[in-house]
């Protein structure tokens, strides 16, 4: 199918067209980039909700229940489920959808599984781009599931409006170690698998380790225990999300968050383009032994970029 026809179908809200545009964007094909450029201003921000946490804690199972509730309340719901690619084979086993069987009951839900791939810009760039495509399609809400290990949890915070951190009763013991990562990014915490022992203890533990976190408007960060298997307490979680959405909407927070996101996107693109375009210059430096600062200065001069001496001295 040629690009103009594809765009026609996209405008008619055909899910096949949405899927294909996502592929173009995910593969960083020219038409994908063109789509992003053309549609950026026209699109309306969706509410983006990140769901993260260690492997196997029940993130997809929770998304399964949440998407039902969102689908009943909102017109269009998108899900992006991200799994890691193997650094060795480049392949990826995308299994989140297996737990999201309720989606088939709703015509207004669209799920896309995405492999993290080895992309230079990292997870955030591709997921950001796919979110933008979904926003152009008219999604009201986008749920983004990603495994919280290492860097990805910071990425998820940057591209979403709300982050839900999912843990399990057994996580209690390792929370201390997680403080730097997961514990800092959550707007809502969930202790899933509360059908098992130790959920209450884990909730207390999380609450006490969150006390360091200064919360806007002194709102306490919700810590909710759920059982996705028994569909237990999912409504409380949904309420907490909606509360948070309302709070963000009513305050300046959301506006600020999104402004920051827009600035960061420009920086990311500049960084990417810059690095790509100077690669050759770096390799062809005359004096190989010159200091990195000296080399950087030479390259900046060559690109004609107007940097101030002040900025230089600060480095």
């Amino acid at each position: 199918m040629n690009y103009p026809d594809l765009i026609d179908d996209f405008k008619q809200k055909k899910r096949g067209a949405l899927a294909r545009v996502i592929t173009l964007v995910d593969n960083e094909e020219d038409e994908g980039i063109e789509f992003l450029k053309e549609n950026y201003e026209k699109r309306k921000d969706s509410f983006r909700i990140g769901i993260t946490g260690p492997p196997g804690v029940g993130k997809s199972s929770l998304v399964n229940h949440l998407l039902e509730r969102f689908a009943k309340k909102y017109e269009n719901v998108g899900v992006i489920a991200i799994d890691p690619s193997s650094p060795f084979t480049g392949g990826a086993l995308l299994g989140d959808r297996l737990r999201m069987q309720k989606s088939y009951e709703f015509e207004n839900v669209f799920i896309r599984s995405i492999a993290s791939r080895g992309s230079l810009g990292g997870l955030s760039t591709s997921t950001e781009n796919i979110s933008q495509v979904m926003e152009s399609f008219g999604m009201d809400v986008i749920l983004i599931e990603t495994v919280g290990v290492g860097q990805s949890e910071l990425d998820i915070m940057e591209i979403t409006d709300i982050v839900i951190v999912v843990l399990v009763p057994e996580s209690g013991d390792s929370i201390q170690a997680m403080k730097a990562g997961l514990m800092e990014i959550g707007d809502i915490f969930v202790v899933n698998k509360s059908d098992r022992d130790g959920a209450d203890r884990a909730v207390e533990f999380i609450k006490s380790s969150l006390s360091f976190k200064k919360n806007i408007k002194n709102n306490e960060t919700p810590v909710i225990k759920t059982s996705a298997s028994n569909e237990d307490n999912i409504d409380s979680l949904f309420l907490a999300i909606e509360d948070r959405m309302k709070f963000l909407n009513d305050s300046d927070e959301l506006k600020m968050k999104r402004e920051q996101r827009r600035e960061r996107e420009v920086k990311d693109i500049l960084r990417d383009l810059f690095i790509k375009s100077i690669d050759k210059l770096i390799k062809n430096m005359e004096n190989v032994n010159a200091s990195p600062y000296e080399k950087a200065k030479k390259i900046l001069e060559k690109t004609g970029f107007n940097f101030t001496e002040d900025l230089w001295k600060k480095r």
């Binding site: 899910r15 096949g16 392949g91 086993l93 959808r97 297996l98 088939y104 799920i111 896309r112 791939r117």
Partner: protein, 133 residues
Amino acid sequence: MEKKIRVLVAKPGLDGHDRGAKVIAASLTDAGMEVIYTGLHQTPEKIVRTAIEEDVDVIGLSVLSGAHMSIFPKVMELLKKEKKTDILLTGGGIIPAEDMEELQKLGVGRLFGPGTQSKDVAEYIIEWHKNRK
């Protein structure tokens, strides 16, 4: 960026064994593909909807229940209805040779019988993908 082959591996029908499907899913992953695994009890409608949303190149179905003569044609029919016949429909199971032939006449790709090496499936898909363009 290098384009990845995307494959949907599903297990339609009522029987409860998905070991074979899982093995295939894992081996296609090892061969560098992105594999969407949707598990047991998938109806043709669900399979085709997933294939469209995930924009896969290939659908691989594991059919052990003997229902291959209803499932493969039904999926094929839905793919035609959705104008998605560029997707390769392949799979495996206990399928007699004459049934395989009949299914291939409908546009189904190669089908693999019991005892197939999973790397053969990967090779077949990679070969198909190369020749597609």
